[in-house]
């Protein structure tokens, strides 16, 4: 076993968050190491389906000291392109990264943190947990009630339609992942049922501009964690019903239904051979339509107050979600696969359980953990709405790096008195 190595900061995770933090630490002359379980941008390489593209346009991929320089700023990177983009970033900033290193335990005492790994321990004065928001798919307990013949797939294990058999598929969850997968499976000719709960609907383009251009312009992505009414709810918000496609098409319940996907309410139970769905579908759609309308109103107000109305195309509003009677039951004998697109819940088996709340979530205030010297980065709405986006982790990394530098300076001062 390797002897304990010492550094100022250990960053766990070599994705966008870990690299952004590394850049911030290097530019502040802080000695550090990035530990990555796989290769740089591991999730983007190994845990994304083949057709996946970013929901945000290429220009909206700014990282500290790095931005998109390619010839398609309005396009949407594929997962492999994101990995390549991050790899180039890593090389440009000279990140001290150790790949293929699995963290097994972090213990903290007397201002030092020991990070145990399968490659020996590290001792550091600060640790940044940057393991990502989308590595551990959450599968609800109802999955255990499903009949034995059913195959269970999560967005991390899903690659493409040819991986599934010819039988029917139930996709549970109508956020970006669920809707994109249901859409792709439906187009491939499979019988697909989509169980729809709470969802957030938005058009890809509005008045000739990408929806993320708008959200960036009006400052919606910059809303801070200490400014929103219900942070807990904001952090749990499902991802937007969007797809990054070359033709910039819309993806919503109406478009997937037009491709033959049968819509159902939220999956709520099993009764014999039937999957049961909630009758709340209509109310879910009404809520999503309303929220979409209110956001678009806000965008129109911004356009008018900034004198942009002449430059932008006319405001045409998406039609309300159609009132196709949703399914309340589906015969499980005709379903061979269930795709659980029911969100992600990061897990931290290597952290002291006292750092987690009763639901296993990291307890933190804008990324600052209650134990001095411990930080987290890249979680949903960590410090701002865009915290878990490629473009959003930079400002958070900068603020946390400042906090960390000041912590290191003070703890040195203390240890010398």
């Amino acid at each position: 076993m390797n002897p304990t190595r010492t550094t100022d900061v250990v960053v766990i995770g070599g994705g966008q968050a870990g690299l952004a933090m590394s850049q911030c630490l290097t530019s502040r002359s802080i000695d550090h190491v990035v530990l990555e379980r796989g290769d740089t941008a591991n999730s983007w390489r190994t845990e994304r389906w083949d057709s996946l593209r970013l929901l945000t346009p290429n220009w909206l991929a700014r990282l500290p000291g790095w931005s998109y320089q390619g010839d398609d700023p309005d396009g949407y990177m594929s997962a492999v392109e994101v990995a390549t983009y991050l790899d180039a970033y890593r090389i440009s900033i000279g990140t001290p990264i150790r790949t293929g290193v699995e963290v097994t335990r972090i213990t903290s005492s007397g201002g030092r943190h020991v990070v145990e790994t399968d490659d020996g321990p590290w001792s550091a004065r600060a640790v940044v947990v940057a393991t990502g928001a989308c590595s551990n798919p959450h599968v609800p307990s109802i999955a255990a009630d499903m009949p034995d013949h059913i195959e269970h797939v999560t967005p991390i294990g899903y690659r493409n339609p040819s991986q599934l058999g010819e039988g029917g598929v139930l996709v549970v969850g109508a956020s970006a992942s669920g809707l994109q997968i249901a859409d792709e499976l439906g187009r491939s000719g499979l019988d697909v049922t989509l169980a729809v709960g709470d969802h957030v609907r938005l058009p890809r383009m509005y008045r000739g501009m990408d929806i993320h251009w708008w959200m960036d312009a009006v400052g919606q992505l910059d809303e801070r964690y200490d400014e929103v009414d219900d942070l807990d709810r904001a952090r749990r918000l499902p991802s937007l019903q969007l797809i990054g496609s070359p033709e910039r098409r819309d993806l919503d319940l109406t478009t997937v239904a037009a491709n033959g996907v049968a819509l159902a309410g939220r999956l709520v139970g099993r009764n014999g051979q039937s999957a049961q769905f909630s009758g709340s579908f209509a109310n879910m759609c009404t809520s999503a339509d309303l929220k979409e309308r209110r956001l678009l109103d806000r965008l129109d107000e911004y356009a008018t107050s900034h004198g942009l109305d002449a430059e932008l195309s006319e405001a045409t509003r998406p039609a309300p979600t159609g009132s196709v009677p949703p399914l309340l039951e589906a015969d499980l004998r005709s379903i061979d696969t269930i795709v659980w697109a029911t969100g992600f819940r990061p897990t931290y088996p290597w952290l002291d359980s006292q750092l987690l709340d009763h639901k296993g979530r990291l307890v933190h205030d804008g990324g600052v953990l209650p134990v001095p010297g411990l930080y987290a980065l890249g979680l949903p709405f960590m410090r701002r709405r865009k915290s878990s986006f490629l473009d959003g982790v930079g400002p958070d990394a900068t603020e946390l790096a400042d906090h960390l530098v000041s912590y290191l300076a003070h703890s040195i001062a203390r240890s010398h008195t």
Binding site: D198, G265, R266, V268, G269, N271, Q276, S278, G279, S280, N283, M284, T286, S287, L290, K291, R293, R294, D297, H358
Partner: protein, 190 residues
């Protein structure tokens, strides 16, 4: 355990004690045990198809409570009964409308919106061949329920729509009607 009278409150918006509402939510976030409530109704057969329920005791926020009085509700059959009360199904419609209305009142109060009117009509369709055992393929319960709200308030129509949608989403009775619930019915041991 103690028996408490439900306290009367005065600091209100739309008659909703907002400070108490937020205080209760905060307390339950910290202590999940306080969120365990239990309700019960005691029912007594009258004659024919008629019976009446009395509702008085309830448990919640860690203690037993009593409503300000024992409320009594009689129900009967529309064609076979002798008019002791509306049908049990209509009580379900009342429960749904009342539950969503309470959510609209609290939701509006929480957002500082003054309500001047909230009225609604809950309507349900039912094919009684199901309950009469004429056709096993016909569902016994409602095939569809609609609730139409008329809400007057110092707010834009979109805001009112959002109040209604949110009150519906967080309504216990709406959830009970739209999602399955385990129900155990048995003879009580004497």
């Amino acid at each position: 355990m103690t028996i408490n009278e439900t306290p009367l409150v005065t600091d209100e918006t739309n008659g909703v004690p907002t400070a108490k509402l937020f205080g209760t939510i905060a307390k339950m976030k910290d202590n999940g045990d306080l969120a365990a409530f239990r309700f019960s109704a005691k029912n007594e057969w009258i004659e024919g198809t008629a019976s009446a329920s009395t509702i008085h005791e309830w448990f919640g926020a860690g203690a037993d409570h009593l409503h300000v009085e024992e409320f009594r509700f009689a129900a009967d059959h529309p064609t076979l009964g002798h008019g002791h009360g509306p049908t049990p199904q209509e009580y379900v419609l009342h429960a749904l409308a009342a539950c969503i209305t309470a959510g609209i009142a609290t939701g509006a109060a929480a957002r500082g919106i003054e309500l001047t009117k909230v009225s609604s009509t809950a309507t349900a369709d039912i094919d009684v061949r199901g309950v009469l055992g004429i056709d096993a393929e016909v569902r016994k319960g409602f095939s569809e329920v609609r609730v139409d709200f008329d809400v007057q308030a110092d707010a834009e129509p979109d805001v009112i729509d959002a109040l209604i949608a949110s009150a519906t989403k967080y309504s216990a009775v709406f959830d009970m009607l739209t999602s399955p619930t385990v129900v155990q019915v048995r003879r009580a041991s004497r």
